[in-house]
Symmetry: C2
Subunit: 412 residues, 2 copies
């Protein structure tokens, strides 16, 4: 089955917004086994939209449009779809009622301001919009299918996931499910080599690696008659992967590394404090992004100056003089110091050279020491990180959280 | 003049990456006064690429392609462009030499691995790639222009800005310059109302507002025969806008608010320390993103617990009991406390309710107090911020930095 995407909207043609809708739909359709060979962007213009429908249907069976369903005169998509298929438009009472309820206004007011949003081409399937006023529409005619979705990504994505996926699954006679494993501490190519057999020999479920910001993900996707059969394929495959990659896998789906670590700390009922030099507050602010953290996160210190390291954390002047601020010894004393000062179970510390300046041959830009103190034991790791100041700081933060994560799952 | 964009690449069709190139080019072309009515995405496939050229040239004068210039067999764009215009390909010595130098390998090795990147259609203009191995190409034939650019955004953007803009300016006979004013502390609609006359009545230069994450920008764009004439139009218009919006304008171009504030602190040679509750380290890590900050940034404290506020900052237990942690009084004592403890000129503090839980009728989610102490004087501002936990924390951070900025430019 072949599909094309048509994104409709002047704001895309002017470059005011990025077309994230096309990426989302392309990815979803690939997962569903629908081929997409062509995407395009057109403005809210009658001739060009009708021409776009014609050209696309010459090449494919399904068109998915996004945009052009707003309440203004400019918004033409549904009307032109009706025109293209020679359909009349009719007032869809349920949509009218929903729009009034959504906007908290009377039917008469809807008819004035949002009237055209409640009009639907005859015979079309109406897709309810949980997050806005414009319903979506599916028109089936002459073995061609036109799926019309709203432009705002929040409305479009929810509508696609809750209505269109099921529709397409019915069409293909298959259900598709996927699970994403999130991986940190190993590069994409090394990981791919380790599980090369699995990647090459898995057809259902398929196993595909993706590189993300400073981490890697593996998407395991099954295609079967029902959800249960998909799950029955996905589960064992994930276990097989886990048996090889082990601790490198830190989570699944939308769980980010900071969230996973923050949750772990809360679950284990351990208190924590942070002492950051080069990361400058990034570890603290990552942990604080988890709402439940206030129960266990006692204090963070950003000790940029040596003076602050001594005063706040009790790092010895002797240590700073002998080994320097960027050293294993200092990282250790920082982690132990903040835990002692804040009276916590865990102390986590970073000290390093984020660049662009400040590097030497002996201590180059990207050298970072991470110290993790937990209940009397201190681990220090030396990292050599690549990239600009921002990248070094982000990678140092993720590495520090990951060192803590591994210690927590191994020993607590 | 009409142009169309063709983005070439399977990774776009599969949704593995977002098409940020299209947005960049659309925006640049709009600024240059070139109309774009159509954009499309096609895979690395001979028939579909040739068909794409044909359809687009039926509608427009200029096609700009991105992608398909890599070193592998899949990369077809240049070759198919030559085929479309019936041109031979020839080995471009300068490109060959550049690729070898860039990759630090010998000519023979280039001929083996990156050979096709050094081949160019006869008679084409070659665009040098400062950031990669694939040169760009412009083919002019039968009043049609085909501009071929590499896919990686870093390479494409640099090549467009340094070569293609000048080429298009020559075509249109005009030079286009713009300056972006960055604005914080006033919403887009209120700002637009205040300078409505200017926006409506400015044709050259034009003045256009854009909303960004938690801030607003104004782009002032002039079109003239030469750069000097553009500047002569832009300068006075920016002054006119500044006379109305005053302190709301915090910077220009790529300068972000945290960068501007970090620079100001360094310029004024004032030392600073931070004490954060709800922002949890975001202010510290924003300041630390500026490389020069280590000279003046002494210390940051993330005092999430009441106990830490008392111990670290010397906030009075009485104050916490009487007014609560989220109060004007606590914000004041936090700002003063961190400056005293770290012995700095400036102390900046936040305390608030970031959500999703923790709000009450009296102190709802989004309530944040910012305290700024500078050399003996303390300012406290109460903010009511909207949005989720992330948005409240980001907005609180930007507001805190902005309060400090205003104080620094007024009195220091």
């Amino acid at each position: 089955m072949k599909a094309e995407l048509i994104s409709i909207g002047t704001e895309l043609l002017l470059g005011d917004i990025v077309n994230t809708n096309a990426q989302f739909l392309a990815k979803e359709l690939a997962t569903l086994g629908v081929d997409v060979y062509h995407q395009c962007v057109i403005g809210d213009n009658e001739d060009r939209i009708l021409q776009g429908f014609k050209e696309a249907f010459d090449r494919c069976d399904i068109i998915i449009t996004t945009g052009g369903l707003g309440p203004t005169q400019d918004d033409l998509t549904k009307e032109l779809a009706a025109k293209y298929f020679n359909k009349e438009m009719y007032l869809h009472e349920e949509s009218l009622e929903w729009i009034g309820r959504y906007l908290n206004i009377k039917d008469e007011e809807v008819l004035e301001a949002n009237k055209n949003q409640a009009y639907i081409p005859e015979g079309a399937i109406v897709l309810h919009n949980d997050n806005g006023t414009a319903p979506g529409v599916i028109i089936e005619e002459d073995n061609k299918i036109l799926i019309i979705l709203p432009g705002p990504p929040k409305e479009m994505k929810a509508m696609f996931s809750s209505h269109v996926v099921k529709y397409l699954e019915k069409l293909t006679g298959k259900v598709i499910k996927s699970r994403t494993l999130r991986i940190f501490g190993i590069g994409e190519s090394i990981m791919a080599k380790r599980i090369n057999d699995i990647i090459q020999n898995s057809t259902n479920p398929t196993v595909a690696p993706y590189a993300k910001d400073y981490e890697v993900t593996l998407r395991v996707t099954a295609k079967e008659d029902c959800e249960e059969k998909c799950e029955a394929l996905i589960g064992p495959k994930c276990e097989e992967i886990k048996s090889i990659l082990g601790e490198y896998i830190y989570g699944e789906g939308e769980e980010s590394l900071d969230l996973v670590v923050a949750k772990l700390i809360c679950e284990k009922k351990l208190t924590i404090a942070t002492a950051e030099s080069c990361t400058g507050g990034l570890i603290a602010s990552s942990l604080v992004s988890y709402p439940g953290i206030s129960e266990v996160f006692m204090e963070g210190a950003v000790t940029y100056s040596n003076e602050a390291k001594v005063r706040r954390l009790g790092v010895k002047e002797e240590t700073l003089n002998k080994y320097g601020a960027v050293s294993e010894e200092t990282a250790k004393e920082m982690a132990e110091g903040i835990a002692r000062e804040a009276n916590t179970d865990i102390g986590i510390a970073t000290t390093g050279i984020a660049g662009p300046g400040g590097g030497t041959e002996e201590k180059p830009v990207g050298l970072v020491y991470v110290g993790v103190f937990i209940k009397g034991k201190t681990i220090v790791e030396k990292l050599n990180l690549s990239g600009n100041r921002e990248a070094v700081r982000r990678k140092a933060t993720m590495n520090a959280l990951n060192i803590l994560r591994k210690e927590l799952i191994r020993n607590y």
